[in-house]
Each structure stands twice: as structure tokens, then as C-alpha cells.
């Protein structure tokens, strides 16, 4: 097993290097440069050249890449031009905020989605099924940023139940309750579409299982319906539901960008959008590399986990 893990880790190195090259090239190729973005109206060629030299952007591209890579390998991701702050500090703080938001949304959509799917399947064509199917369709059809704005208007502006934006109160304690207060609206808005998708797929997975012989046997044995549905059927259906959850986890993470903008959540998606608009090269590169590295590591962890459970997967 140790050898397998090592092999997977080694195979990740070219992937990560490839990512750094691609990210670096994309930022170098898109038109506009940080100096022009910083100087705005005052971007005379002379001023731009001077500022680029101050920022170290006048060196050849290949040299810039290796300087950046070398620094990064020693843990120095550089300083953001636009925020004047170490890239790594900013990225880690922002990534943490995104994980809180996306993690909460993922828990919400998994629980609600599976529950709705199960209830729906257990009452196929019944009133509950129809109500859930309708709601789910509605949820899937509303773009999350629009839903977010509507939620702000209703729950924050009209009812004043929750704060409009941000992650922490400006004044007062920064505890779990304060965080939840700020988290409920964005996490719900982010969870809605994924909940719908999970509910639909859970419903069909359950329906499939409910038609199988062991369910009939269980019922014949006199197991109560509640037990049949939640213990026997759901357990079998989870086999096809779990991969759906996996895909939705990625979807929730990437969908967080819109929600972060609407709710001004200080997450990494919003950070990257701002950084790209300001041509804050080092921040974009650092952010993408960190996210990509986490993604690669997550995949390796999943593969290793699966290999531990089922040695046949190890190839």
C-alpha cells in the first residue's frame, strides 16, 4: 500500500508542474498587464515600462517563470500587486472561507436532496412526490445568483432576519453563531440547485431499488415500511447516490463564485475574479495552484481510500 501511495504522489508531480506552466502562460498571454491596470488613465508607455520594471515584469517570460517557480518551491508565492499582501496569506484565508461556504452548502444539499428523493420515491406519484418534483424543478431552474439576490431582498432587506453580506459582523463577537447568521443565506442559495439534482437522482435510484426482489422479501418478512425504505432500500441505493454526491461537491465548489460575489463572501472565487480583472498575476497564479493542488491531493486521497476498501482498484 505504501508503494501505491508513493506512486500516486509521484505521478502528481508532472500534473502540478503542468498546471503551473498553463496558469503562467494564460496570465502572460491575456492582453493587458498589471502596470496598465494599476496606472489606469495615467498608463503612458513610459510609466508602464517603469512600473513593470519595478514589479519585475520586464524580464523574459521563461526567466519570470523559473523565478516564480523557484520562489514557490521555497514557500514564497510573492506579493499581490493589487492587495500589497503576501499571496499565500490571502489565498489560504480566502480558500478557508470558500470551504466553509461550500462545505455547509454540500452538507445541506446532500441531506435535503437525499431525503427529498427518498420521500419522493416512497410516495411515487403521490402528493408528496408531485410537490417535491415541482419544487425540485423550480430549484434547478433558478440561477443561483438570482436566487441569492431575491433572498437578500426578502430575508435581509424586507424581513431583516439576516445580514446582507460578509462573513463576520462589523462589531460584536466572532463566534459560531455570528458565522451561522452570515452563512445561512449564501449556503442555502448555493445548495438549491445541487439539492434538486441530488433529489432527482436519488428518487430514480430509490425507485430502481424498490422494484427489486429483496425489498419484496423484506416486506413479506414483515419489516415495517419505514425500515424497508430507510434501512434496506436507501442503503442499496447509496451505491449509485454517492458518485452523484461526489460530482455535486465539485459543482458546489465551483458554483460558489457567483454566490461569493452576490453575498460578498470573502472566498477564493471572488478573489480570483477580482485578481484577473486587475491583472494581479501572482495572486491568480498562486490561487489557482493552491486550488489545483488541493484538488489533486483530494483525488489521490479518494483513490487511496477506495484502494484500501477494494484492493482490485489498485492497478
Amino acid at each position: 500500500m505504501g508503494g501505491y501511495i508513493l506512486k500516486r504522489l509521484v505521478s502528481a508531480i508532472p500534473v502540478l508542474l503542468g498546471i503551473t506552466v498553463i496558469v503562467f502562460l494564460i496570465m502572460a498571454l491575456i492582453p493587458g498587464d498589471p502596470a496598465t491596470a494599476i496606472l489606469g488613465s495615467y498608463a503612458t508607455p513610459e510609466n508602464v515600462a517603469k512600473l513593470n520594471a519595478d514589479l519585475g515584469l520586464d524580464k523574459p517570460l521563461v526567466q519570470q517563470y523559473f523565478i516564480w517557480l523557484g520562489n514557490m518551491l521555497t514557500g514564497d508565492f510573492g506579493t499581490s500587486f493589487a492587495l500589497n499582501r503576501p499571496v499565500l496569506d490571502e489565498v489560504m484565508e480566502r480558500f478557508g472561507a470558500t470551504l466553509i461556504l461550500a462545505g455547509t452548502a454540500f452538507v445541506l444539499c446532500s441531506l435535503l436532496g437525499v431525503a427529498a428523493g427518498v420521500v419522493s420515491a416512497a410516495n411515487q406519484y403521490g402528493a408528496a412526490d408531485k410537490a417535491i418534483t415541482f419544487t425540485v424543478l423550480l430549484g434547478i431552474s433558478i440561477p443561483s445568483f438570482f436566487l441569492g439576490m431575491m433572498m437578500i431582498l426578502i430575508f435581509s432587506v424586507q424581513l431583516r432576519w439576516f445580514p446582507v453580506s460578509g462573513m463576520w459582523p462589523i462589531y460584536g463577537a466572532r463566534d459560531v453563531w455570528a458565522l451561522l447568521d452570515h452563512l445561512i443565506l449564501p449556503a442555502s442559495a448555493l445548495a438549491v440547485v445541487a439539492t434538486g439534482v441530488i433529489a432527482r437522482l436519488s428518487r430514480s435510484a430509490m425507485l430502481e431499488v424498490l422494484r427489486q426482489d429483496f425489498i419484496r422479501t423484506a416486506r413479506a418478512k414483515g419489516v415495517r415500511e419505514r425500515g424497508v425504505i430507510w434501512r434496506h432500500a436507501l442503503r442499496a441505493a447509496m451505491v449509485s447516490i454517492i458518485p452523484v454526491l461526489g460530482i455535486q461537491a465539485g459543482f458546489v465548489l465551483s458554483g460558489a463564485v457567483y454566490i461569493e460575489i452576490v453575498f460578498q463572501w470573502p472566498g477564493i472565487g471572488r478573489m480570483l475574479v477580482d485578481a484577473i480583472l486587475k491583472r494581479d498575476i501572482l495572486l491568480v497564479q498562486g490561487g489557482v495552484v493552491v486550488v489545483a493542488a488541493c484538488y489533486v491531493m483530494f483525488n489521490i486521497a479518494v483513490d487511496v481510500g477506495q484502494a484500501l476498501l477494494d484492493p482490485r482498484i489498485k492497478t
Binding site: P31, G32, E90, W161, S165, R226, V262, L277
Partner: protein, 527 residues
């Protein structure tokens, strides 16, 4: 079915739990309210740094102007300079030596004294590459003071600037945020981190910067110009305009800047007050005077007649701007030519001029940007202009670019690429824009912004003379004459002067916007 009963029971239980949770969570409405004496300002972005020499964005200036002072500042409600940290100054006959007498007894927030050495430190740090703290930059706007040859300490309260040539905008550049004075002791202590540990002489002292959340400044009780009424100001970065509007409506902020035109109607009634102030901003179309149809002055004038500027200002911009008459914004009251009337909307006259020039049906390429500093609502404005120009017989095709790409296309000049391009400038002196964008020597190949290749020796001469004249009346006369000629030559379509806006809640008193677009909070009261 037992499942239904279960789910109903379950739902009830879950609902109750959720309800209880919400009760526990939802704070009393009071927490949405901000403490008395603390003003919460909705900003448009996270500041880059609080070091005036290192930043370029109006957004950052809004904080800086309250933490620092310059040697001079703009008189309330004008763009004319008055004493601040300097109590008086003398300008030598030839206009190259400025001697300032400094205010006595002023200290920086960190306790160190403000004196002539501190002034010298500030300018040497920006301009002298061998200065020990030059590496705390970069200082992108240092060229505002590139005329400064030497800063000399005459005595602790007297400082002399020597310029390499007479340069009339020097005083108003000193009033600009780049000229604000920082504490040398704090720069020495924090080095490159000074931008996050600022120390000035201003009405407010820096208290705290929580990344992506808030910058907090507190009243300076010892302020030389009288301690501010507010206890503290919190600047919150809220980049999305809709969210900023919602925060204002929900009471999460007391003052909001840059209200989107479509949201203004939300704030027309109590408890809100909408503030408006025209500033030193001009929105125009650069016309390519070197080649194509706009090489003919009649066609350039025709474009000015053809575009319905009042419709754009009133309908597209919802009244958040005024129709521009010429290249100089009226906010520069002393230098603005009141006699100038905007080109009227007259499509018939436009058609006649086009026919005279034989440019009927000319094909025009029009560069439009998606948005950018001071560009207002460029796509909608561009579309309206396209329709107006097509109505008088042009065939206009729009090319739209993201802001940085747009600048990369426009600043090197329009030759061979386009006939017209959108542009907007905000400046602090009537010299800046025409000097950088209308002179013959400001063509892009010479490092200027004259991307449409306008050239008129008369205008060149007037601008050079105005720059070296130190008498304000003389400068005003020269600028007024320049505006008349430029309006007639029509190198641009003069479109709009933006009125900056802000909304305050009924708890805020004593607030007014400045034509400089700075946000000054030392006289604001919050109840």
C-alpha cells in the same frame, strides 16, 4: 402508509428544530444597526494600501484623505487650493522655486513631529532612487512631481521645492492624494508594510484593517483643524453594486458611494438623502483625425451634432451626468469657459455636414469597453451612439473589449484600427487632460494619450503657455481660449461630465460630496 405519517412527524420535528435554531440565531434587529458615533461607509473595493504614495484608485483615496493631510488642500466645494500643513507659500518670479512655511506644533499619529525634514523625506522617498526607503514603493504616480529637482530644508518650519521648469499644476498636485504627507518614523518602523500600518496627521487615526472585511479609523482628538465629531469610521468593501444597494436598504451601512443609476429611485424618499456633485470628469469619444472620414473636421463636427447627448445623460445614465460642452469639466470653475454651449442635437445639420464632406454612408469602427474607471455605462452608451450615428447615414460597427485590453488597444493610437473610441478621464488640474491628450507632442508615438492624432499648433502653444504661467487669471484666460478652439475643431465628441453620487441614511448629518471626488468626513455627525 406509515411512511407518510413518519415524514409528517419528521417534518414537524425538523421544522420545530429549525425554527428554534432560527430564533436562537436571528439576532435582535439592533445588531444590524451600527453603534452611534460610528459611520459605516460602503466602499466599492478592498483598498490596496493606505500609503498615499503607493496607490492610484479613488476608492483608496476616500480613506486616505481622512488619515493624512497634504501641504495644501482643496477649499471646501472647489478645486482651488488653500493652506493645510503649510500655512503660506511663496513662488519665485520665474516660477521654479516654491517656499512653504509649515504649520507649527503638528504631530503625526505615531507621536513624531511634523517638520521640514518630514516633508523632504516624503518627496525624496518617492523621487530619489537612492533614498533608503525608495524600495517601499513602487510609486506609480510619482511622475506628478517629476518636475521637482530638489527639496531643501531651510529651517524646521520652512521647506523649499526647486523645479526644473515652471510648472503651474504643481500646487494642485500637492493637494492630490499622492502629495499627502506620511510619518517618516512610521515608514522607518514598518518598511514595505507601512501601507498596512499607516500614520499621518489627519482628522482620523488608523485603528484596524481586517482583510476583505473592513478598515477602521478613529477620531484624532488632537487634530490641528479641530477634532472630528464622529468616533470612528468603518470602510467596508462591497464590490457588487446590487449588494451595496441592499446593504444600504437593510441598514448595514450609513453611507454608500457610487450608487448605480438604476438604484437611485430606491433612495428618493426618506429616510435617505441622495447627494450629487459634478466633478473633474469628462466622458468623450476619441475621433481618429489622421485617417478615414474623421480626418475632415466637418465630419467630426457632424458626429457631435448627431449624437443625442441629453438622451444619453437622462435616459441611459438616469441623470447621473451632465452634457459636456468641451474638453474641460465645469468643475474647474476658475478655468472653465462659461460661454461654451454644448453642440446641440441636430441630425439635419449633421447630414448636411456629412454631405458637404462627401462622407455619406462612411463605415466606422467604434471601440467600446465593457466598463472601467469613470466609464459609467459604456456598452449602453455605445449602443445609443451607434443608433444616432446610423440615423445620419454612417455605418457603424462596434468592437467591445474588456477594460485592460481596451486600454492596450486605444492608448497606442487608433491608426489602422478604429475611427472612434470611448474614453473618460478624471483629473485634478485643468492642465492634465488636454496636455496629455490634445497636444501634437502627445501623440502616442511620443508617449502621450492623443490617440486620435489631433494637432493644432495654436492649442499646443496655449497649453505650453498655461503650464508655465503662475498667475491663475492668466492661466484661466489661456485655458478658456484653448477650449473654444478645441470645441470648434472637435477632435472628440464631448459627451458627459459625471456627477458623483452618494446616499446617506437619516442618521447622518453634515455630509457633502466634494468636486475633487474625495470623501471628507471630519465634519460629519451621526446620530
Amino acid at each position: 402508509m406509515s411512511l407518510l405519517s413518519l415524514s409528517r412527524r419528521g417534518l414537524l420535528a425538523a421544522g420545530t428544530a429549525l425554527g428554534l435554531g432560527l430564533l436562537a440565531l436571528s439576532p435582535p434587529p439592533a445588531t444590524a444597526q451600527t453603534p452611534p458615533g460610528v459611520l459605516i461607509v460602503g466602499q466599492i473595493a478592498e483598498p490596496k494600501a493606505l500609503d498615499p504614495a503607493a496607490v492610484t484608485a479613488v476608492n483608496d483615496f476616500r480613506i486616505l484623505m481622512n488619515v493624512y493631510d497634504g501641504l495644501v488642500r482643496y477649499k471646501d466645494g472647489t478645486l482651488e487650493v488653500e493652506p493645510a500643513l503649510a500655512t503660506s507659500w511663496e513662488i519665485s518670479e520665474d516660477g521654479t522655486e516654491y517656499t512653504f512655511t509649515l504649520r507649527e506644533g503638528v504631530t503625526f499619529h505615531d507621536g513624531s513631529a511634523f517638520d521640514a525634514e518630514a516633508v523632504k523625506f516624503n518627496f525624496d522617498r518617492m523621487l530619489d532612487e537612492s533614498h533608503p526607503y525608495h524600495d517601499t514603493g513602487p510609486f506609480p504616480l510619482a511622475f506628478f512631481f517629476s518636475a521637482v529637482q530638489e527639496v531643501e530644508v531651510v529651517d524646521p518650519l520652512t521647506v523649499k521645492f526647486t523645479l526644473d521648469a515652471p510648472y503651474a499644476p504643481f500646487l494642485s498636485n500637492l493637494a492630490y492624494p499622492t502629495g499627502l504627507i506620511v510619518s517618516p518614523a512610521a515608514v522607518a518602523e514598518h518598511g514595505a508594510e507601512f501601507g498596512r500600518n499607516p500614520s499621518g496627521t489627519g482628522a482620523f487615526t488608523f485603528a484596524e484593517w481586517r482583510a476583505n472585511e473592513a478598515v477602521v479609523i478613529e477620531a484624532n482628538p488632537d487634530y490641528w483643524d479641530g477634532a472630528p465629531e464622529l468616533q470612528a469610521v468603518v470602510f467596508r468593501p462591497i464590490t457588487d453594486a446590487n449588494t451595496r444597494t441592499a446593504e444600504m436598504l437593510a441598514g448595514g451601512i450609513d453611507l454608500m458611494v457610487e450608487v448605480p443609476p438604476v438604484a437611485l429611485s430606491q433612495f428618493q424618499d426618506a429616510p435617505y438623502t441622495v447627494h450629487e456633485q459634478a466633478g473633474p470628469h469628462v466622458w468623450f469619444l476619441i475621433l481618429n483625425a489622421k485617417e478615414g472620414p474623421f480626418a475632415d473636421v466637418r465630419v467630426r463636427q457632424a458626429a457631435n451634432y448627431a449624437i443625442n447627448k441629453s438622451a444619453i445623460v437622462n435616459d441611459v445614465l438616469e441623470g447621473t451626468a451632465e452634457v459636456a460642452a468641451g474638453p474641460t469639466p465645469p468643475a474647474f470653475a476658475w478655468a472653465y469657459n462659461e460661454a461654451l454651449e454644448p453642440y446641440p442635437y441636430d441630425p439635419d445639420k449633421a447630414r448636411a455636414l456629412i454631405a458637404e464632406a462627401g462622407a455619406e454612408g462612411a463605415e466606422l469602427t467604434f471601440y467600446v469597453t465593457e466598463g472601467g474607471s469613470g466609464m459609467l455605462d459604456p456598452v449602453a452608451m455605445g449602443t445609443a451612439m451607434q443608433a444616432d450615428l446610423e440615423a445620419v447615414g454612417f455605418d457603424v460597427s462596434i468592437e467591445t473589449y474588456e477594460w485592460n485590453t481596451f486600454l492596450g488597444n486605444v492608448n497606442p493610437g487608433l491608426e489602422g484600427k478604429a475611427d472612434m473610441a470611448q474614453m473618460a478621464w478624471m483629473t485634478n488640474d485643468p492642465d492634465t487632460l488636454p496636455y496629455l491628450a490634445l497636444r501634437t507632442e502627445a501623440w502616442p508615438d511620443q508617449g502621450g494619450f492623443n490617440s486620435g492624432y489631433y494637432s493644432n499648433p495654436e492649442v499646443d502653444a496655449l497649453l505650453e503657455q498655461a503650464r508655465v504661467a503662475t498667475d491663475q487669471d492668466e492661466r484661466a484666460r489661456l485655458y478658456k481660449e484653448m477650449q473654444e478652439i478645441v470645441q470648434e475643431d472637435a477632435p472628440w465628441v464631448f459627451v458627459a461630465n459625471w456627477k458623483q453620487n452618494a446616499v446617506t441614511s437619516d442618521r447622518v448629518e453634515g455630509f457633502s460630496l466634494q468636486p475633487s471626488f474625495f470623501l471628507l468626513l471630519d465634519d460629519v455627525v451621526k446620530n
